[in-house]
Structures are given as C-alpha cells and as structure tokens.
Amino acid sequence: MEFGTQTIQELLEGYQAKQFKPSEVIEGYLKNISERDEKLNSFLQVRPEETLANAKKLDGRMNEVNQLPLFGIPIAIKDNFLVEGWQATAGSKVLSGYVSPYTATSVQRLESMGAVIVGKVNCDEFAMGSSNENSAFGAVRNPWDLERVPGGSSGGSSAAVAAGLATVSLGTDTGGSIRQPASLCGLVGLKPTYGRVSRYGIVAYASSLDQVGPFSKTVWDSARVMEVMAGFDDRDATSSKRSVPKYTEELSSKRTFTLGVSRSWLEGVDPEVGKSFEAVLEAFKKMGGKVIDIDLPHTRYSLSTYYLIAPSEASSNLARYDGVHYGYRTPSAKSSEDLYSRSRGEGIGREVKLRIMLGTYALSAGYYDAFYLKANQVRRKIQEDFEKAFTQCDFVVSPTSPSTAFKLGEKTDDPLKMYLSDIFTLPVNLAGLPGLSVPCGLDSKNLPIGFQLIGKPFCESDLFTAAYQYEKVRGEFPLPSIAKGKG
C-alpha cells in the first residue's frame, strides 16, 4: 500500500480495521522523504532508525487505537521546537548542532497520544520571513511548483504535508507563519488564540505574538491535533486555564454564521485570488449564512505596528545568542565583549540582523515613545476594530494571502515587498485572535488559493465548524502531483 495522501481520519480508520500497522505507515512516509525531499529541502533532520523503533513499539499496542487519538500518525515538527535528543536550529547557523535537552509541551502532548515524529522541518531563520528563503540551510520549494516558494516562515511544515512526507505538522505563527504557507501549499492552517497552546520549548521570536498551531489536509485533522495539544501548561505563564472543547465532536453542529468583510482591506488583492474569495462568500450564503460589510479602519497600519513590536521583542529575545552558553561561538574573540558581537555578527543571518537592529532602534533612548509606545497604542486600536466588528458578525473573513505562491528570489531584495505578503494575517496576531486558513481554489497557474476565517478569542470551535461546513460544499481539495509519487 502507498502512504502519503492519507488524512489522520483515514489512517485511524485503517488502524481500527487492522489494514496496516504503524511501522508500515511510518516506513512508507520515511520512504517518501528519502525519495522526494531532495527536490523540496523541507527536512533538516530525519532519524529513520529511532522513528521506526517508536513506530514498532506502537505495533504492539494496536488494541489502544481508540484510546490514543493520534495513534501512529506521522508528524513533522518545525525546527524551532525543542524535542529531546533532536536538533533545534530554528533555521539559524547560530544554533547549528544544538541538541534539545528537553521536549516542548505541545510536542510531548502529541507524542503521548500516539503521534510519531518523522523529522524536524526547515523554516525561515528564527521564524522571520514569508518565503522560507531566510533559512541558513537553504530555501524550501513549493510542492505545487518547484520554482516557487512554499511561504514562510513555516515553509518546511507546509511543504512536507502537501508533498505527503507527513500527515500533519506543527508550525509557529507570529504574523502569519502558519496561515500564509498553508494557503500557498493548499492546506488547512490554524493560528490559535493567544494563550490557547503552550509555547514552552519553542524558540522565542516575539513573545506577545507567537503561537503554535497545526498544518493538515482537512479541518477534521486540524481539530483533532488541537484537542490533544491545546490547554493550560504551568510552564507557559501566558497559557490559558480555559477548558479545551472536543473540537471534532462539535464539527457537525448545524449552525449558520454571519461573515464580516472589510472591502477597503481587500484593495490590491490579485484578481484571481479575489474571485476565488468572492466564491467562498457565495458558498456561505448558499449554506444560509449572511455576509455583511464591516469597517476595520486601523488594519492598514498593521504592517508598521507589527514591524515595530515584533522586532522590539525579537531584539530582546535574541540577546541570548551570544556564544556563551550554547550555539555558535566565533573562533577569533579577544575579549568577552568581542565574543558577543562577533559571534552574533558571524552567526546571525541578514534578515534577522535587520529586525534586531530595527527593534534596538525602536527601544533606544529618545525613540521609545515615538516608536514602541506609539505602535502599542495603534495595536490597541486594531484590537478594538475587531471587537467592534464582532458585535455585528461571527467571523471576519479575508483571503489569507494577497497572491498565490511567488517565485524564489522575487521579493528578496525589498523587505517591504516581502512583508506585504502577510497583510491579512498580521492584524490577527496583533489582536491575539484565532485565524484559520482554508484552501478554496486553484489559480490559472494551478497554484492553491486560501481564505482566512478570523474569530473571537477562544472560539476555535466555531472556526472549525464553519470551515468544516465549507469543506463539505467545496469537496476534496486536490494534492500536488508529487504527493502521489509523480513529478
């Protein structure tokens, strides 16, 4: 039997019917990685022997399929998560060779419920980027078109699932790093509410924005991963004590929703993306839903707000990479001061240095009020825009990305051009809201288009329900030919 195209749901059904064993499934996925990833560069570390040994342990526990919600599910983990014994480079030369001394809570929860890690996947350095071209270990290619980017920063996470190298994957989303690559690779990607999933064991980028979330082929799979992974963790002071619903059990509830659209926000969207988005609105109307116009006047300032707040936090979080306790150390330091500056200067990549300097500038004496404080005040206004919108509608909807996957190198010279690819995702992080990207079509170049549902805090269940309804109407979304062993 060929493996790679299955969903979690399909694999679980197969295990229940004793059609195959975890070791056979995992072997199939490892084979896909060895045969296909040379073209994609999505994996940074694979440990076939350990992975297969873990799967074989599950072979002897086939009677526990119904107790372990992720029994024998192959999962890929973004390389900014710590998993004991595995490397965690976060796509940076600074962390090259770093071996994790403990495991992130999110990963530990998935593993304890039967998931099997097939590898650590590539990403933009320290999760800073929208194309995966900022990785110190080379760009990742989009499985739909190898000349194009898979999106970023979780580009390895999206490429691996789309190409059939893992059933699901984990990523992090600080300004769109799950939803945008999910959209560009034809997958479902969720950025949960701030505080919904523990960040313990994640390499920090911007702590008031970072969230952990899943990539999957279907809404059901996303809901399944979330019901296992979400919830309070006393090792992350920002994680919420709210109970976690059984998301998969709530998917089929019969409800109609009111969607809010901010027309001014949609200006400049690629016409094919715009057309596909309008078709989504029509589909919701046909299901009995309503579409209303709303106003989000401050979202136009999201990019400026984000590029002050995120770099400011990054400049502080990344101060730890100084060549002292772990990571890259320059061979040529003459003093401690020299050691810090040279190790950082030589080890950290181009875009990350830009953001560290932006943040340092914004926080420096004389500029704090004008930049950092101002950005936080505008951030509050963006949040209020959404609060007001949610008095009129259940969700705010938009395309996930203004365009489909762009070509490698197309936007690397101008940071602003690259930043604009996250124009619809940035405000969601700034407001701390959950956002779900769902595939809705293919453009004339056969590249996936996605739309985004944005919900009220901790309303992931509503997002899943609406997206599940839409998925039924849309029908099965195609996979790239590489996922079927071709191309």
């Binding site: 505080g195 060549g323 772990y326 001061e337 830009l354």
Partner: protein
C-alpha cells in the same frame, strides 16, 4: 537616510559586528522600513492601554518555586567551551 554613524551605534547597542558591506546594506534597509513606519503618525492616539491578551479570568498564578532540571548533561553538552563544569570565556580583565 540613516547615517553611517547611526547604523554603527545601533549595531553596537545590539552587539552585532557588521562588515563594511553590511553597514551600507543596513543603512538602506533600515531607512526603507523606518520610512514606511512613519505612517503611524497619522493615527490619533492618546493614552490607550496596552493590549491585554490573556483574558483576566484566565491569568494563571503559580507558586514561585525552583524546580530541578532533569537533564543537566544535555544543557552543558551544548556549551561551546566548558572547564570544570563551568562555561569558559575569554579573559575579561588583563593582568598588568
């Protein structure tokens, strides 16, 4: 345009050694991004509070208690240089 001196000052504060090419590169890139960010001045703001992310009913408290880390070896194993169980650094104070 940010001056060369301003870029060097930021790099010093950020503890980043830059090459000559990088100084020129970041002079342009920082100026480009900071130029865009000026649009925030169009927004009228007064004393808006900072964003409250975690709903107040969910702010968790816990006892401030140290817990032993089980994998000391794993932590020290990532150090670039160790001597007698301590992190090794270049000399800070020169002998006279």
């Amino acid at each position: 345009m940010l001056t060369r001196e301003e870029v060097l000052k930021i790099a010093k504060l950020a503890r980043l050694t830059l090459t000559e090419d990088e100084i020129v590169f970041y002079q342009k890139q920082l100026t480009r991004v900071l130029g865009h960010i000026e649009d925030l001045n169009q927004v009228q703001t007064s004393k808006e509070a900072f964003v409250q992310h975690v709903p107040s009913d969910a702010i968790p408290f816990r006892e401030d208690r140290a817990q032993p880390f089980p994998n000391h070896e794993g932590l020290m194993g990532n150090a670039p240089a160790v001597e007698n169980g301590c992190f090794l650094l270049p000399t800070i104070v020169e002998h006279s």
